[in-house]
Point group: C2
Chain length 189, copies 2
DNA sequence: TGTACATCAGTGAACGCGCGTTCACTGATGTAC
DNA sequence: TGTACATCAGTGAACGCGCGTTCACTGATGTAC
């Protein structure tokens, strides 16, 4: 028997190992299926094989758990935007992020369910906003206020349509190339 | 005492008058506030001043009520699209519909909560789709598959951003004029 | 090497709540004669 | 004009359920000495 034998027997060890992460992942699966409002802490605990009171230990309450997910989402989005080269590629990155992380995206859009003033959340959100503003400022005519709104609406709408099942990349096409084709329809300045 | 005196006394009459409509309106208010998933039939009944079992009488169950709302929404959208002159004005009409009827719009986007195969629902939805296709066919290059997707994404995204509180018409501007300015950024064919 | 102790992670019972749905019922209304 | 009857609208009690949160607790682990 290995020195970790105790951990690999059929009966679960008392300590989970990484329950926090396991709960987050179970929550993401639940949100992807039924939306953030329908999230149930007891169902999470069941999926993680843990008592129903355990989630409170890590997140305090439901809003705490969703706040952790939203924060994680904004951090991922910020780093995706940071890596994207120019303005159009940021749009592509936005669509790709939303479709690859639909549960994070949905939670980020449901501020009512979060501790919306939690410092780590607002910090992550501001960080993502800064990356966007940088490239908008670099490209847009500052007088035309509708231009950045149009750009944002286009990528936000495409992401929504894909997530809601109304639009799908064609054969041999991925989300990024579809997003590139669609954002190509924005008028050049 | 007028001949309707009985109906205007403080104690409620046994028959409501138009309970069906009253329940739909209360449901729309609830959905606008908390989304379709959080709709509670008992809360509706409370607001309509009626016993909690009364809604079942009119709609069977919760999905039946939401299906009635979605059907009504598609009918309104279809007639708004029918009245809009050209393609761009249809886009404007889409955004205006979504922002003027946010609760209908939200329910229409939540097919999981509906009796999605109900004949009156599918009929209304198909009708709205027909109006859209007509004007898309009249204007778009049939080879460029991304063009209608871009148009739809733009108006859908703008509607979402307004509804989520991320974008607001400027001073002296209404939703329609904002939508016109934004859709003007689509590349002409 | 052993032992005492602090700390952390997870348990399980209990609470009170609001919900959707069912069901036999009663009040009100309209219609046929 | 009256009366019997069918139909419709809404009632209220009851059911079983899953939920979030609290709380005193126990198991497991790490650390100081």
């Amino acid at each position: 028997m290995s020195r970790f034998g105790r951990l690999t027997t059929v009966t679960r060890p008392y300590h989970h190992g990484d329950l926090r992460r396991a709960l987050l992942d179970a929550a993401l699966a639940q949100v992807a299926g039924h939306g953030p409002a329908a999230l149930s802490l007891r169902e999470l605990a069941r999926q993680a094989g843990v008592s129903h009171a355990a989630p409170a230990h890590h997140f305090g309450n439901k809003a705490g758990l969703l706040t952790a997910i939203a924060t994680e989402g904004y951090r991922m989005l910020a780093s995706a935007l940071a890596e994207a080269g120019d303005f159009q590629e940021q749009g592509v990155a936005y669509v790709v992020f939303a479709t690859e992380h639909p549960a994070h995206f949905a939670v980020m859009r449901a501020p009512d369910l979060l501790h919306n003033d939690a410092p780590e959340l607002t910090a992550a959100r501001d960080d993502a906003g800064r990356h966007l503003n940088r490239s908008v400022a670099a490209r847009m005519d500052p007088v035309d206020e509708a231009a950045p709104i149009a750009a944002w609406a286009l990528v936000h709408g495409l992401a929504s349509l894909i997530l809601e099942g109304n639009v799908r990349p064609g054969p041999g096409e991925d989300v990024a190339s579809l997003a590139r084709a669609v954002t190509g329809h924005l008028r050049a300045e």
